[in-house]
Amino acid sequence: MGKKNLIAVLVLAIVIALFPLLVKNDYYRSIMVFVGIHAMVTVGLALLLVYAGQISLGHGAFFGIGAYTSGILTVKFAANPLLALVMGIVLVIIVAYVIGKPSLKLTGHYLAMATLGFGWLAYIFFNEQTNLTDGPSGLIGIPQLSLLGIELDTDLDYYIVVWLLLLIFLCMALNITRSRVGRALRSIGDDEIAAESLGVDTAKYKIQVFVLSAVYASIAGSMYAYYLNFVSPSDVNIFFSIRLVIMVVIGGMTNVWGALIGAAVLTIMPEVLTIFEDYDVLIFGGILVLMMIFMPKGLGSKLASLETLIQLRHSRRRS
């Protein structure tokens, strides 16, 4: 994955390991669990959106499929939580493939609308299929996840598992970006026709990264369901899908790390700034508009150009 990325991952791992040792407060730990869960989705979404340039406004649906599959199978069919999580992955792969294949032939606005429509259909299903999902009031009584015989029940337990999963997802994503496939994705995002003319099977790579990002979202959704022991349709609606996209945007439309930062910022901020309480819709909308006007390439590139500026100054001072 490259030297810089490896160092960054190790630093992140150390910070993540130290955090619960320094911070014992359950509330702050739980915020970090949510950061991890959101980041699991945004890291995959970044590959799709930032690298391959494909807009998905419906990834909340995959998150929801993971959460609800885990919830329904454990609550209504007394399934083993780990098995239910795996079933969620299987279901999401099928759905992502079925929806993705025809959708990814579409470009720009059409793709955005198709994913928006799909996301909304999923929400309607979660809301209306009350015999399975218990409808708008949500599905309660989702059991804890057990791994290797150990049941997770504290915030710390979930923190460890979620961030371990995130680190794995992150490493995989970083490996992909630094590979032949990553370059293929970027070529698709940059100029799909030129990519095709060079032998890049654009349809294949688009669907692969779409399904991969859907799987990340599904696992994140399942973890969400087990952590809260509850899931409701309003947790996985269109606004959630859009928030995920805003996390990727605000973090930087340049690389995977930005998606991680974006997830952290947009998960922590609403907790820290209580004005978010009533105006979160306004603020998210405002962020999106302002970012597009002033920083269409996101915070990540602003940081990157800052870095270049510093390097230039530094080299000038030397000579």
């Binding site: 959708s103 720009g108 606005h109 609308m113 909308g285 405002g286 597009m292």
Partner: protein
Amino acid sequence: MTLSAQLAQYVISGITIGCIYAMVAIGFNIIFNSTGIINLAQGEFVMLGAMSMVLLSHFHIPFLLTFLISIVAVGIIGGLFQRLVIDPLRNESMIVLVFVTLGVSILLSGSVMFILGKEPYLPPAMISSQPIPFLGTAIDPQYLVVMGVTLTVVVLLTLFFEKTILGQAIKACSINRMAASLVGINPRKMIFFSFVLSAVIGAIAGIVIGPITMMEYDRGPMLCLKGFAAAVLGGLGSIHGAVLAGLMLGLLESFGAGYVSSSYKDALPLIVLLAVLFWKPTGLFGVTEEREI
């Protein structure tokens, strides 16, 4: 209830809601024709029209005046949207434009939530008279208002684009922007008018449907999706296609709610949207284009 009464009800409500989808679709088409972008905030114009009527109803002014003020206000919002947000970004990539219209739609609905809260409101109707008996059932006259207004809008628009200088100028820009600018038409001004016109049509739709279905702050996205479904079904860019497709979708939804499942009624137009996008993105009346390299 007799079969004919039931059918009459489904047909009337289907056509009525179809008129709204048609008007949203027309709004999409006008903006798409001049700019090539899909305005994800189109549904918000509808919502704003109805909400404006709600706000102004506190002032006890004649209906016609509130109607005019509302459409002017929403038209101004549409114009500001274009001037402040769309115009500066006109050279940016598709992704940026999608996101920015999305952001504005969130801003608009968020602002309304801030001012009016989350509850549904009932905007005032033009006439409040008795339901009219028809084929064994009774029709609320507001339904007829919706149909009449939609018909008027379509006729006026057709005349506008065929007979007026401004309309023809906007059309010219859609067909060939460079040629239009060479004959002295300012494309950016035409785009501005397109947005204002789209916003006004959206507002009219909201004003007439509000008294029937009520309106809440977050109705925008669903209207946007269904209106877009009508727009693509009828062939993106075609005003008359949009009307036909809108009516078809409305009838589908109405009959679907009655005979298939009322909880999934919203899903039907969405399924149509996906079907059209996947298999015939040029719509029922469009022509398949070859990719240009």
